[in-house]
């Protein structure tokens, strides 16, 4: 007696039933596995992430261009109605800035004289690479942005990212053409800082809100509200003296940092291509 050939449908049907029963459970399991592997820093996941970023970046850049056109037009409409007030504000600001210009000139010559006196060797100036933000996280559970500067343009993990004059974040992941910047307000962000007036060191940590928290200040610190917070350069990752924000009093003994009001035009950013001689991050 000859055996009946096994039909494809006979094999496929139980497999399909099995898949339908356990698909969601299986996929959740895969997700958990991926989460753990990602946290463990598995190289394959890193590679897949940067490849996906490179592909998605092309589409996101197109999307960003169209949204920025709409936003620019809306901004222009708003500005037209507010021209007179804006002119008054600019006149006042101009007066204030010219006062500061004289003070800065005096301080610069004093600074140069003191450096000569002490044979001070200044740190190498940092090159800047300009780019634009093409995507952002929703800001609820994480605060990061994607920018259109990648490894091919000189981006590297650990570089400082500035908007205008102030530090906004650090490059944490790089693709060929796109990189991710972890903003200083993210829960995961920790930056060694210094209070400019007192020289007190501390660590600034984000909590996903618009202000960041200051920790590990010296016990006898004379920090007060309104002091300026800058990077300390500690740890050899970020260059020193990059402005970050202003000290605000939080609840209890906690001090917070309000980042400089400089983020409204965060369409464009600058990466500082900074090299520490002999330090870990020299690439």
């Amino acid at each position: 007696m000859s055996r009946r050939p096994i039909l494809f449908s006979e094999v496929a049907k139980p497999l399909r039933n099995l898949w339908q029963k356990f698909a969601i459970g299986g996929l959740v399991g895969v997700s958990l596995f991926l989460m753990i592997s990602d946290q463990a820093g598995v190289a394959t996941i890193k590679q897949v992430k940067s490849s996906v970023l490179d592909i998605m970046g092309i589409f996101l850049e197109l999307g960003t261009q169209s949204t920025s056109i709409i936003r620019d037009n809306l901004d222009t409409l708003k500005q037209i109605s507010n021209l007179k007030n804006e002119l008054d504000r600019l006149k006042k600001e101009n007066q204030l800035l010219s006062d500061w210009k004289h003070k800065a000139g005096a301080l610069a010559s004093q600074n140069a004289a003191l450096r000569n006196l002490h044979n001070f060797i200044p740190l190498a100036p940092a090159d800047a690479i300009s780019g634009r933000v093409i995507a952002s996280s929703d800001g609820v559970f994480s605060k990061s942005v994607l920018i259109n500067i990648g490894k091919t343009n000189g981006a590297n993990t650990g570089q400082a990212v500035m908007s205008g004059v102030a530090l906004i974040g650090v490059v944490v992941q790089t693709g060929n053409n796109y990189s991710r910047v972890l903003l200083i307000t993210d829960l995961n962000s920790q930056v060694p800082v210094r209070i400019q007036n007192t020289g007190d060191p501390g660590i600034m940590m984000g909590d996903n809100s618009k202000m960041t928290n200051l920790f590990f200040l010296p016990q006898n610190s004379t920090i007060s509200e309104g002091d300026i917070v800058v990077t300390s350069g500690g740890g050899g990752v970020l260059p020193p003296d990059l402005p970050i924000g202003i000290v605000r009093r939080g609840s209890g003994a906690l001090f917070k940092v309000e980042p400089f009001e400089d983020w409204s035009d965060l369409g464009y950013i600058r990466i500082l291509n900074y090299k520490f001689d002999g330090a870990i991050l020299t690439k």
């Binding site: 991926l34 897949v48 994607l146 618009k210």
Partner: protein, 164 residues
Amino acid sequence: MHNIFDIVRLIVPVLTITVLVIASFLPFNISQEVVIFPSLTLIAIFYWAIYRPDLVPPVFIFLIGLLKDIVTGTPVGLMASVFLITYSVSFVQRRFFIGKTFYYTWFGFAMISGASLFTIWIMSALFLGRVGVLMIPLMQYFLTVVIFPVVIWFFVRLQRHLVD
């Protein structure tokens, strides 16, 4: 024979979820102020899991979750697992929503989305070892629940004219 309309009919649910996820990446909310947007993706997943689960395969939900993780920088698999759980809970409970009054569905969504957003918050905290502010996820939750009827109004029309 399939015509182009048949194909469009089949991909509308997947397309709406994809468009909402990609729209959530666009940098509308770049400012120092925390600008909170409702989670429209959760509403879309909830709606299609109840009314047309046959057109939204779990593998798609998994992949779109992974894409969100990679672009927004959350641990890879976090949003994928939360989207899958939202999808499966909504799917399993669908018989309680179909044919009931809208308030019943709204209440159901409030429960499921609350659990989903809370899970994301807890898992982010577990992976980072630190707890973020609770107020921002809470505000996003309320905003999502409040906007739910408006989004559903669009989805019902989309389903009526394009899918069914």
